[in-house]
């Protein structure tokens, strides 16, 4: 009996590199192997482990929408050994990919609702996947609002798409940068994400909020949402606990008995409230 080696990645070719902001890049990856490409499928919210051969593997969410076939995208920030090695890659280079892993955003359950996406900094990638997914299934949902904040204008990722979203009538985009991070020609808001959300006058009625960002942003945004009347099960977020295998074995990512690699990365606030705060 020969079993499959679950640690063996797919080989992927980098077909496009976008420099999003200093130290943040987006790769578009296509399968080297046709058959693998055919069989591959994922859902929004899932993640994978990306290999820089020679240095190791790193976990990123899949930043493209499953509705866009033939490739996957990831956006990552250069922080350490693997991400630095990935950042060195060129179009045409080969990287590894294992996945998709983890749970998904329950789009079916969101049918007929308003969606509010709230993202900070480099945490837009997981949301980008679901936003495009929702836009591609636009008639499933009612209003779609995106609030996106970054430290400075330079730190905003997906600048092209932000532009596209601004221009589209079926999505409302609010961008903001931290005070001091604006440029002279900046037309968005200036201020931190939580107050900006508060000013929007959102209604919690028939709405889900998807929040992603640095811990401090999340911590300060949740009370705002609560004030607006969002119940814990109306609020979604994704966790990024460190992981090595992505397969529920290496033992790093669990918080309580919940394994972020399998039961996550997508959680509702209601679920998180049940877990020990080890994330």
């Amino acid at each position: 009996m020969t079993e499959k080696n679950i640690y063996l990645p797919y080989l992927m070719r980098i077909t496009k590199i976008t420099e999003e902001s200093p130290a943040v890049k987006t790769f578009r990856l296509e399968f080297v192997d046709e058959v693998a490409a055919q069989n591959f499928d994922f859902k929004t919210g899932q993640f994978g482990l990306y290999s820089a051969f020679g240095e190791g593997e790193s976990t990123f969410c899949i930043a493209s929408s499953p509705t866009r076939k033939g490739y996957i995208e990831c956006t990552f920030r250069e922080v350490g050994r693997v991400t630095a090695a990935l950042a060195d890659k060129e179009v045409g280079d080969i990287v590894g990919f294992r996945g998709p892993y983890g749970n998904v955003f329950p789009l079916e359950a969101w049918k007929g609702k308003n969606l509010v996406f709230i993202a900070g900094g480099i945490a837009l990638p997981p949301l980008r996947s679901v936003i495009w997914n929702c836009l591609d299934l636009r008639d499933w949902f009612k209003d779609i609002t995106v609030v996106y904040g970054a430290r400075s204008v330079a730190d905003l990722v997906y600048k092209h798409e932000l532009k596209e979203w601004t221009e589209r009538p079926d999505i409302k985009l609010v961008t903001t940068v931290d005070p001091g991070g604006e440029t002279p020609d900046w037309t968005g808001k200036v201020g931190f994400v939580p107050p900006v959300v508060e000013q929007l006058g959102l209604s919690a009625e028939n709405t889900v909020a998807i929040v992603c960002g640095p811990p401090i942003m999340i911590k300060l945004t949740l009370p705002v949402l609560e004030k607006l009347g969002f119940a814990p099960d109306q609020i979604y977020t994704t966790l990024e606990n460190r992981m090595k295998c992505g397969l529920g074995k290496c033992g790093r990512c669990n918080t309580g008995s919940s394994y972020v690699c399998k039961d996550g990365p997508v959680y509702t606030l209601a679920q998180l409230n049940e877990l020990p705060a080890e994330y």
Binding site: M1, T2, E3, K4, N5, I6, Y7, L8, P9, L11, F53, G54, E55, G56, E57, V79, G80, T83, G92, D93, I94, G96, P215, E240, N241, R242, K244, C245, L247, G248, K249, C250, G251, R252, N254, T255, G256, S257, K262, P276, E278, Y279
Partner: protein, 335 residues
């Protein structure tokens, strides 16, 4: 129910020979330099006497401390991947204690939960366990508190219980039967020996189900900080533990080729969950100590309907600062 036989000392000698003839290596506790550790043996006389436990567990037979997961060669624009095949040798583990035998189940739970780990499975498949019941227990042992026992059969393919002139042999599984089939006449019909009377007596130290039930409510208890103050955060307990399964994946490479290795890791290490940002979900040693307990006594039961600890006490014996797990669990149970 198991079939019970007798196995004389001479017959055990022959059984060893038969196993080796069948191409299996036999690993058994061997004395040396003041330690008892698993080593390859040829005959029963080489096996240690009077040991309670080996220091290291037998888990490296199925989950080695370093193991190749894959390798590759690189050249500009190309990568060639090579799957790794575990060198799984047919192995008989002789003389491991019932607690340790049982521990393979806890490993299996993780390695085959949802995704199946071919490395573990290939090795497990080639391994058979001839356990030997304990006649002695020490202050670190607490198998009976966790539903096991000094003569517990779980996990063994054959369990031997020392009796005068040899062993009581319980052939428990298909693998056990296969061993028996190598030399059927060595196993003579057994009589109704009272195993329990021979085996070590070990009192139950605490009520495990009750403890498991109350752990979720004790997460913030200051007990953990109190207990963990002494812990120096090494990996000794996890590395000797037969059920600890945490691992790290490491890359070793030069510009032309490389390999991905799996190596043991420990949730007690301060870097274990550390993010590049400096954020650490388990920042303090007490959080990490708590994780160790919760993983074994709360997460495991919830997730896999079994315990992540078999009460072997290896961690206690290995700990340089004598963190006695039994004692700490009793403490927790009494909160």
């Amino acid at each position: 129910m198991a079939d019970t036989f007798k196995l004389t000392h001479e017959n055990l000698d022959s059984l060893f020979a038969a196993l080796r003839k069948d191409g299996r290596r036999i690993l058994a506790p061997v004395d040396g330099d003041g330690r008892t550790e698993l080593n390859e043996v040829e005959k029963p006389s080489q096996v240690a006497k009077g040991y309670i436990q080996t220091i290291m567990s037998a888990k490296d037979v199925v989950f080695p401390k370093v193991e190749r997961l894959l390798s590759y060669t690189t050249a500009p624009g190309t990568v060639e991947l090579h799957d790794a095949e575990p060198k799984a040798l047919p192995t008989v583990l002789f003389g491991v204690r019932p607690c340790e035998a049982k521990a393979f189940g806890a490993l299996d739970a993780v390695f085959n939960w949802d995704y199946r780990d071919k490395f573990f499975n290939a090795r497990l498949e080639k391994m058979a366990v001839i356990g030997v019941s304990c006649l002695k227990a020490d202050d670190a042992c607490f198998c009976t508190s966790l539903g096991g026992g000094p003569a517990d059969t779980a996990g063994s393919d054959i369990l031997l219980t020392p009796i005068e002139s040899g062993y009581l042999a319980e052939v428990l599984t298909v693998k056990g039967k296969a061993i028996q089939a190598l030399a059927p006449n060595l196993f003579t019909p057994g009589n109704g020996v009272d195993k329990a009377a021979i085996a070590a007596k070990l009192e139950q130290a605490f009520d495990q189900p009750a403890l498991t039930a109350k752990l979720p409510g004790m997460f913030e208890n200051e007990l953990w900080e109190d207990q963990a103050l002494r812990c120096i955060g090494c990996g000794a307990c996890a590395y000797v533990c037969p059920t600890c399964v945490c691992f790290d994946i490491q890359e070793e490479a030069d510009p032309k080729q490389g390999q991905r290795l799996r190596c043991w890791d420990s949730c007690g290490f301060s870097m274990f969950t550390l993010h590049a940002s400096g954020h650490n979900p388990r920042e303090t040693q007490s959080a990490r100590w708590r994780q160790r307990i919760y993983h074994k006594f709360s997460t495991y039961p919830e997730r896999y309907q079994m315990l992540g600890c078999v009460g072997c006490g290896k961690c206690t014996r290995a700990c340089p600062v004598d963190m006695n797990l039994r004692e700490h669990l009793v403490e927790a149970a009494n909160v």
